[in-house]
């Protein structure tokens, strides 16, 4: 009944560091002098980046996963941490996004010792710990704990400004997120009742009646979809992501929604028997396709930049769910498929581009005192670096070459053509056109010369513009990866169809 025995691998201690470094950072934040809070937080995020890059290097060099048995106990009794290829890549991606966000956020939340800086930096480190655990966790209850960490860190960021509207948005987010948690936990209870284990490796090795597993994964997927804001459960996202301060929106949109998506990916690719997963995956793809169309159409109609960027997240998340039908339907070895690489690239390209976009939106607001798109004329003169950032991020969001968004959508189209699934091709193409529609609504007026010389409201610190630009460049640069399935992403996956 047990999967192969696991053992701690050399370098496995890095995985413990990935969890403990941000948590120790949180505890320190509340004990050090208020003026040292930002320094401690930045140090913890830099240490986290070092750990994440070291894990990536070791997994890539050894072409084998890193494993750590906590307390020395074997799963399913104990808990293991495991960094396979995709976990290592995503952990590095998250760590890379967090550092420019922190650079951008420094000094933005008021004087040391006030409410907003304490809450922001605490929750940023909590999100770091939660995401690392989501990528490394190998046990369904352990992943539940990670989801709770993520929820309790993300919700206070939405209402950081303390206005009535943001409190309402945070409350709505909390209701959706907690309903999602309850559904996930119900699934966990059902799986333990039916199989007596929560270890992903052990569960994947089980064969037998799968009725309970189907009910459980159905409930859990619904819960995770609410947390990921998959259409039609996306209603909480636009007010929450548009109402949060820009640095917080960047993290919420780029990273937080991806945490629950990653767990859904693991349930469908690692846990469900392949034939069952194929049967259900079309449904997820249909919701994803609807998200692409509806989210883009809503983005086209927004008058304010931050709401437009938030609705764009609803649309771009939709693409991620096309991975289920495309990756599972292609037959054997889903982890080596084109769709698997396409999904991973889409997730990363969106993370970089969307974080850059929200940070740029914040800078626009500071530069001209509002974010009404209709009055963007002359923005290019006032804030050239910020407009450049928005342009580069938009190229990736539209899926124009050369950018990560282009590679992702190109590979997705290749996968869809390969299966003769023309209906997904239509969705992907329509999504790109609609995205072009909404980003040109921002860029065209921004590049139009002003009728009269406009002045900046407030000088902007160049390091903050550079932080946003660096993320937009990252979104472009990952487009230079070869347009082929990326072997690193298949390292150490538990093959769902393997005997």
């Amino acid at each position: 009944m047990n999967a192969a025995m696991l053992a701690t691998t050399p370098g496995g201690g890095l995985l413990v560091a990935a969890i403990t470094v941000p948590v120790i950072g949180i505890l320190l934040l509340w004990l050090v002098r208020p003026r040292d809070v930002e320094t401690v937080a930045l140090a913890a995020l830099l240490a986290n980046l070092g750990v994440a890059l070291a894990v990536l290097e070791k997994v890539a060099a050894g072409a084998a996963p890193l494993v750590y048995l906590i307390g020395g106990w074997q799963p399913p009794l104990g808990l293991a941490l495991r960094a396979d290829g995709i976990a290592a890549v995503f952990m590095a991606m998250a760590a890379i996004v967090l550092v420019p966000v922190a650079v951008y956020a420094r000094g933005q939340f008021g004087a040391p010792g006030e409410r907003r800086p304490m809450v922001f930096w605490t929750m940023l480190l909590a999100i770091t710990a939660a995401l690392n655990l989501i990528f490394l966790g190998e046990d369904l209850f352990n992943l539940y704990v990670a989801l709770e960490l993520l929820t309790f860190a993300a919700v206070p960021l939405v209402s950081l400004d303390g206005s009535r509207e943001t409190l309402k948005a945070a409350l709505r987010y909390l209701v959706f997120a907690l309903a999602g948690s309850v559904l996930y936990l119900l699934g966990v209870a059902i799986i333990y009742g039916a199989y007596g284990t929560l270890d992903l490796g052990g569960l994947a090795a089980l064969r037998g009646p799968d009725g309970a597993l189907l009910v459980a994964v159905g409930l859990m997927t619904a819960g995770l979809a609410a947390k990921t804001a998959l259409f039609p459960l996306h209603l909480w996202l636009p007010p929450a992501h548009a109402g949060a301060p820009p640095a917080a929106s960047a993290v919420l949109s780029a990273l937080v929604v991806k945490g629950s998506f990653f767990i859904a990916l693991r349930l469908w690719f690692d846990l469900l028997p392949p034939e069952r997963a194929v049967a259900g995956s079309t449904l997820l793809g249909v919701f994803g396709a609807a998200a692409v169309v509806v989210g883009s159409a809503m983005a086209l109609r927004q008058a304010r930049l931050k709401l437009l960027v938030a609705y764009s997240t609803v649309a771009q998340l939709g693409y991620l769910f096309l991975v289920f039908p495309l990756g599972l339907g292609s037959g054997a070895a889903p982890f080596e498929s084109t769709a698997w690489t396409a999904g991973a690239l889409q997730l990363m390209a969106h993370a970089f581009a969307k974080a850059a976009m929200f940070m740029a939106a914040g800078l626009v607001y500071e530069a001209i005192g509002h974010d009404r798109i209709a009055e963007f004329r002359g923005l290019g003169r006032i804030a050239p670096l910020t407009v450049l950032t928005m342009t580069l991020a938009s190229i990736s969001l539209m899926g124009l070459p050369p950018s990560g968004g282009f590679s992702a959508k190109w590979l997705m189209l290749t996968a869809a053509f390969g299966e003769g699934a023309w209906w997904w091709v239509l969705v992907i193409a329509a999504g790109g056109l609609l995205a072009a529609g909404y980003v040109f609504r921002i860029l065209v007026p921004a590049f139009t010369p002003p009728e009269e010389p406009a002045a900046r409201k407030k000088p902007v610190v160049v390091t903050r513009e550079a932080a946003a630009l660096a993320l937009a460049l990252a979104a472009i640069l990952i487009g230079f990866l070869p347009l082929a399935p990326w072997p690193l992403l298949a390292v150490g996956r538990i093959a769902a169809g393997a005997p």
Binding site: I26, N142, G162
Partner: protein, 308 residues
């Protein structure tokens, strides 16, 4: 036969109170229904022999959550309830029925015998120095989950604090105490709190070998602090106080410190050196109890409402 009547009665009562709570006319009645529901659930868990769950349900589900809801209900102004449309209600009802049917099907058709890790848990229990298998799961096999759950509670407290006004940041929660509260509450608190503290400590202590433990004990201790606060006997501390911050962080710091010390001393994070398992676990449990009791009491106390 008696058992059947008893269990059937509890089951009917559970469903009845749940339905009554949904239909309750106002917030206060709904909260009272919710607390009663928690108590009946406690009985149900007791009948199932799950005494740890029963203790937790009584303390957290009925007790702490009930107090929080009661306070929230008192603060929220009655607003004209916006009823969802008929179609929305039909859809929600249908989805809820589908989930309930799915759950019923799964629960009624368990594999026989039900697979479980319980034997595994017992088999290795001796090496943890504990007598209570649940203590073994929480402090040894799944110590990482327990550690991170205390961080979740700490984050929940910071989230509650973050809801206060900027001007009150670092100040004391709740309105200023009115001097000389009359009535039976202060007398009740003077009698119950000392006894409650002893019971809370006892529940933590027996947790190593019998149902109980830090979460349940800490909840009882937190309840005593809340009672003393409501009776005006103690004042809520300023949230910026250094001693309070250390009190809150002590549990997680001791836990992660001993966990990291396990890497050189016992070969793994959160492993305990042989022969020192029980004393180390007790040290962690005591530190966690203190921190958790403070966290839970402060979550109920709410965001700071007075300038520091």
């Amino acid at each position: 036969m008696t058992a059947l009547v008893l269990d059937g009665g509890i089951a009917l009562l559970t469903i009845g109170i749940a339905a009554w709570t949904i239909r309750a006319g106002d917030d206060f009645a709904a909260v009272v229904g919710f607390i009663a529901y928690g108590l009946v659930l406690t009985l149900a868990w007791t009948r199932l022999g799950a005494y740890d769950v029963a203790l937790t349900e009584a303390a957290i589900g009925g007790g702490a959550t009930g107090v929080i809801l009661m306070r929230a209900g008192a603060r929220v102004k009655p607003a004209p309830a916006s009823r969802p449309s008929r179609l929305a209600r039909i859809i929600v009802g249908a989805l809820s029925a589908a989930v309930a049917a799915g759950l019923a099907a799964v629960v009624l058709l368990p594999p026989q015998p039900a697979p479980s890790l319980a034997l595994d848990v017992r088999e290795h229990l001796a090496s943890t120095g504990l007598g209570n298998p649940i203590g073994g799961v929480l402090m040894a096999y799944r110590a990482a989950d327990t550690f991170l759950e205390t961080v979740v509670v700490l984050l929940a407290l910071f989230g509650v604090w973050s809801l206060g006004r900027d001007a009150h940041w670092g100040g004391r929660p709740g309105p200023a105490p009115r001097p000389g509260i009359g009535g039976p509450l202060p007398l009740f608190a003077r009698i119950l709190v000392p006894a409650g503290i002893v019971i809370g400590i006892y529940i933590v202590w027996v947790g190593a070998d019998a149902p109980g433990g830090k979460f349940q004990g800490a909840t009882i201790l937190a309840a005593m602090a809340i009672l003393a606060g409501m009776a005006g006997l103690v004042a809520a501390p300023a949230t910026s106080g250094r001693r309070l911050r250390w009190l809150l962080a002590a549990g997680p710091i001791v836990f992660v410190g001993i966990g990291l010390a396990g890497i050189p001393l016992a070969g793994a994070f959160l492993a305990y050196p042989p022969g020192f398992e029980k004393p180390l676990i007790l040290v962690i449990e005591v530190a966690l109890t203190v921190s958790l009791a403070a966290m839970l009491a402060l979550i109920v106390a709410g965001p700071p409402e007075r300038s520091p």
